[in-house]
Amino acid sequence: MTEAAIREIEQFLYREARLLDERRFREWLDLLSDDLRYTMVTRANRYPPSSKAIAVLDPARLPDDETAEEDALAVLDETKPTLAGRVARLETGMAWAEDPPSRTRHFIANIELSPGSSAAEVAVRCNFIVYKSRSETEQDFYVGARRDLLRRVDGTWKIARRKLVLDQNVLLAKNISIFF
């Protein structure tokens, strides 16, 4: 990919992150393509095939790899309509986990681009740290990797697929009341 492409995508992602931190959720929804799938998975503790900690009884029972079981570990599995529903819920004034609202800060790092399946698409990898502060002294760090598929629609970028991998087994935060 060209320099300019990386820079353009980078600025798009920074602005997107800022919309979330500024709680401009309706503007954020506008960046999502109508066919979006948006997932976040946690990660399993499994012995790799090489491990000598166990003697496997039935090799057929070994999962191919961690990602084979993604659905079973998804903590977010959303579409644009369900995300819009979450935004609407936040607007009711009764979404208690966000009232008063939490404070988030999104860090988008290690951005790498690769071509998408069509000229209008680009695949983007990045790592993320999302800091959340709430109430008087609560804080959480959500850390992981993200793979986006961006699509150029009418001269602007839309997010067509977002897959987040959260690098935890037991989620250490009490909830996921924010967007990534």
Binding site: A44, Y47, I54, R61, D71, D77, T92, K174, N175
Partner: protein, 441 residues
Amino acid sequence: MATDVSQLVDSEHALVSRRIFIEPEIYQEEQKKIFARCWLFLCHESQVPEPGDFYTTYMGEDPVLVVRDDHGKVNAFLNVCRHRGNRLCRADSGNAASFTCAYHGWTYRNDGTLTGVPHLKNFYYDQLDRAQWGLMPVAQLDSHRGLIFATFDKGAPPLREYLGQMAWYLDVFFDRREGGVEVLATHKWVMPCNWKFPAENFGGDAYHVQWTHLSAITTAFSSGVTANPRSQGSMVSPGNGHLLICVGPDDVGDPPVPAIQAYEHAIRDEVRQRLGPRAGLISPIVGTVFPHFSFLRSTSRTFRVWQPRGPDKTEVWSWVFCDKAAPAEVKEQVRLAAVRGFSPSGTFEQDDMDNWQECTTTCRGVVSRQMALNYQMGMGHDRYDAGLGAWASEARISENNHRHFYRRWAELMTAGSWAELAPSRAQAANAQAANAQAAND
């Protein structure tokens, strides 16, 4: 423990001391009197279907390894090497013929037998009796409708007796179709609250739905059946501290997803048939098996354990389930409804967690801690219902289940053993008979 627990639950006035939600000494006592004694949920059989399949979990704060042996028998052991106490198995799940401890290499077969001790001959002089040093099994293990339970206490009554009338209610969730259910997904996370708040909530708090979850209901994440003023139902306590929130047999509490609702409609008669006449009286939608195994059918379909991790910390281990016989598309929709409704990101669950956290942290103040909590809703308005095999509230919303829960908690915390509890169970049976009599009159 110096604390006199019997003073902390005032059943007569339905008041409960806040000390039981925050004080470390009471928490430690709970570990011994509740968690080392009661039947605790381990996992579902669909999670260890084949020989060698294992699943690691906890009973209280004790790590436990559930494993199906070569002969197909499911066993559960402390997940602790008998030599120097190392954690034996460090994976969430998998398949194994044997487990080797990372420290000195003792090896245990998947039936718990200590099969390998390096240098047993030359350094142990063959004086270590391996038969004495196999993995430490739980005292009793049994299952009901695929739900595997165990207890550390040899003196505990058998599982069926422990469940009692609760058995039928579990069937409604886990055995309403041939083949029972299977697990679709797993969610684990940490909540900064005492474990009893979620346990009591799932067991009997229909009251909070209309306010805590109003935002999710108005934005169509749920049909919000218990918040619907036209719904029927009752808070039902089948005994031994087990609890259920029930709606009327014709109330619809399924997730507001067309595919799921169509499926439910299609299987309705089959299910009624299988569950028998009681299904025409009542429809349980949420519940808790004492002390900390809860399950949910409306809005989302999950069962979960509230793993205690200290007086103000709980890990939720939650699993999404579905009838095994359901079509793939329904299973996928059930999974999605759970992710979106009852999971760390759940539009329902996240607000619950915030409340339970604040119910717990405010107990830190020495003055707040003296303030008893109010569990008085519907006092005097529940009765034993022979048709339901349970105490039931007159109204569709009540706190009578909470009262049963804390009465049971107090009994266990003050009893020296299951044998000591027996009389009180007998009394309960008598009361039950008397009530049943009255109900029949």
